[in-house]
């Protein structure tokens, strides 16, 4: 083979054509984990023996003509919120240290049925309650390009594992941006489908009405394949990419583009220009109450998270990391009437996102206002604004958890230091296949500004 496969699509073709074997691919991934996990701290658990056995089984099946589809023989990691039968689901917390799952989460079972090889479980911000992955009982996960920086969060270990060549994709969760943020930070594609489309059973919750699951991977095609499998193979065919000349995209400029790192703003403007040059129509659209989203989100996520954690906050508070414990405690003081106000505000945001999408193929905006932040930094200055890192990191993504619309991050540029920058596409509610069609058209156009190695920072790459 001329080069190692880069995407699941490439790998699947190579496996089916028997140009390589699942065993060889798994061995390379395990080797990469052995070399790099001490630095990146991406994995909490590695299932080496099981992965090797599953790989040999996949090779036998494929050789016998029993190819089960595009994920057959593909090594995939799981954020350690997903139940895997017989393994602990740690949620990166000592609170869960005695836990062992008695069954696979339905999403994990779907991946196994499709022949995917579960190579291990990845690090995260404790209980998914943070955007940097710094607060973890296992220590912080680190960015593949610069270990002094965050890989984003909360699915930070997942993104690091995919970006560094330790596996081909990861399953993450997204409550305020936890799939899209680390994907943007690490130069990957991250998909959050519509709310409720994919089962969150067997997944440790953060906020039941905001939680989503979805893939972190290296291309839109890979995201579509994983989405289809997670949906039980019942996804409406994504079909051909939308013709870029027919694309009508709305840019919700007010609020979402008002606090951006200059290099993010420049990369996003360049991406817009390339889309216009390709024939797409881009117009500014209003989401009039976007400025209220953070307050709405905060009252929902705090209340729902506090309800889940109340008992353990009383019984074993010392087992939480201090920052996560104190934020969970904050949720115990939210009044019911304010939660109700937030839920009413949420309905308004949903309608306004629907209205912004009216007559358009999608919304287009940055996925993240800043590049990968340094670990240990609490506040960040963006232009004249100094805000907590967490607030800035959630700014572009949390609206679509509040509204439930499908959204994805795709690479669109890089800083002068080579740190990836991501753009975000938002689709019509319940129309994740439509979002994927648009993303397939947009990806090659905006990727022209991405790093040479966007989506893969592993062996053979350098800054």
């Amino acid at each position: 083979m001329a080069a190692d496969p880069h995407t699941i699509a490439d790998l699947s073709r190579a496996l089916k054509a028997r140009e390589t074997t699942a065993e060889a691919v798994v061995e390379r991934c395990l080797q990469r984990i052995a070399e790099r996990n001490a630095t990146l701290n991406a994995f909490i658990a590695v299932f080496g023996d099981e992965a090797r056995e599953q790989a040999r089984e996949a090779d036998r099946d494929i050789a016998a003509g029993r190819h089960r589809g595009p994920l057959h023989g593909v090594p995939i990691s799981l954020k350690d919120l997903f139940d895997v039968r017989g393994a602990p689901t740690t949620a990166a917390s000592r609170v869960r240290e005695d836990h062992v799952a008695d069954a696979d989460a339905p999403s994990v079972a779907a991946l196994r049925d499709a022949g995917a090889i579960i190579i291990g479980k990845t690090n995260l911000h404790e209980f998914a309650f943070g955007t940097t992955n710094e607060d973890s009982a296992f220590g912080p996960a680190r960015h593949p390009l610069d270990p002094d920086r965050s890989p984003g969060g909360s699915s930070g270990g997942s993104a690091a594992s995919v970006a560094d060549g330790m596996c081909f994709a990861s399953l993450g969760t997204d409550t305020g941006g936890s799939i899209r943020i680390p994907s943007a930070v690490c130069g990957l594609v991250g998909l959050k489908p519509s709310f409720g489309e994919l089962s969150t059973d067997g997944v440790v919750p953060l906020s039941a009405t905001l939680d989503h699951i979805g893939p972190i991977c290296r291309s839109v095609d890979d995201a579509a394949m994983l989405y289809d499998v997670l949906l039980g193979g019942g996804a409406r065919p994504a079909g051909k990419p939308t013709d870029p000349r027919a694309l009508r995209l709305g840019i919700p400029r007010a609020y979402f583009l008002s606090v951006l790192d200059p290099q993010v703003a420049s990369a996003f403007d360049s991406a817009c220009e390339r889309l216009r040059e390709a024939g797409a129509t881009l117009v500014d659209v209003p989401i009039p109450h976007a400025g209220d989203v953070a307050a709405i989100y905060l009252h929902i996520v705090l209340t729902e998270a506090a309800a889940y954690h109340a008992k353990t906050l009383e019984r074993r508070p010392e087992d939480y990391t201090p920052n996560v414990r104190i934020r969970l405690e904050m949720g115990r003081y939210v009044l019911g009437e304010d939660y109700a106000r937030a839920m009413r505000g949420r309905e308004l945001i949903r309608r306004e996102v629907d209205a912004a999408l009216e007559g358009r193929d999608g919304l287009f905006l940055p996925a993240l206002a800043i590049p990968a932040p340094k670990l240990g930094v609490a506040m960040v200055r963006v232009g004249a604004v100094e805000e907590p890192v967490r607030n800035v990191m959630l700014r572009c993504t949390q609206a679509f958890n509040v509204s439930g619309h499908p959204a994805m991050s795709i690479p669109c540029g890089a800083t002068t230091d080579g740190l990836p920058i991501g753009a975000q596409l938002v689709g019509g509610y319940g129309d994740t296949p439509g979002l994927l069609r648009v993303a397939r058209a947009v990806e090659p156009i905006v990727a022209a500004g991405a790093t040479a190695h966007a989506g893969y920072l592993g062996p053979g790459t350098s800054r």
Binding site: F195, G196, P288, H289, D292, A294, A295, I296, L298, H299, L302, I326, R327, E329, M330, Y333, V334, L335, D338, R341, A342, R344, G345, E347, L348, R350, R351, E352, D354, A355, G404, Y429, G430
Partner: protein
């Protein structure tokens, strides 16, 4: 409960529970709660939404009248 009374009660309770580090977070939460309570889309017991008097109010009319969302059932 007013936000002022709520904040005093919450800070007092947090200190009683040995969590003084909660104070700045509760103060930040109070600002967000204030924004939430003063938003013009809140419903009012008079039967009307607490609408902005500006005739160009940003609230969709159906939403202001409290009609159910015909959309997604979510």
């Amino acid at each position: 409960m007013t936000i002022k009374a709520w904040l005093e009660m919450a800070i007092h309770d947090a200190e009683r529970r040995g969590l003084p580090e909660l104070k700045p977070l509760l103060e930040a939460l109070a600002k967000a709660t204030s924004a939430l309570r003063t938003a013009e889309w809140n419903a009012d017991a008079t039967g009307d939404a607490v609408l902005n008097s500006d005739p160009g109010s940003r609230i969709p009319p159906d939403f202001a009248r409290g009609k159910p969302d015909p959309g997604h059932g979510r």
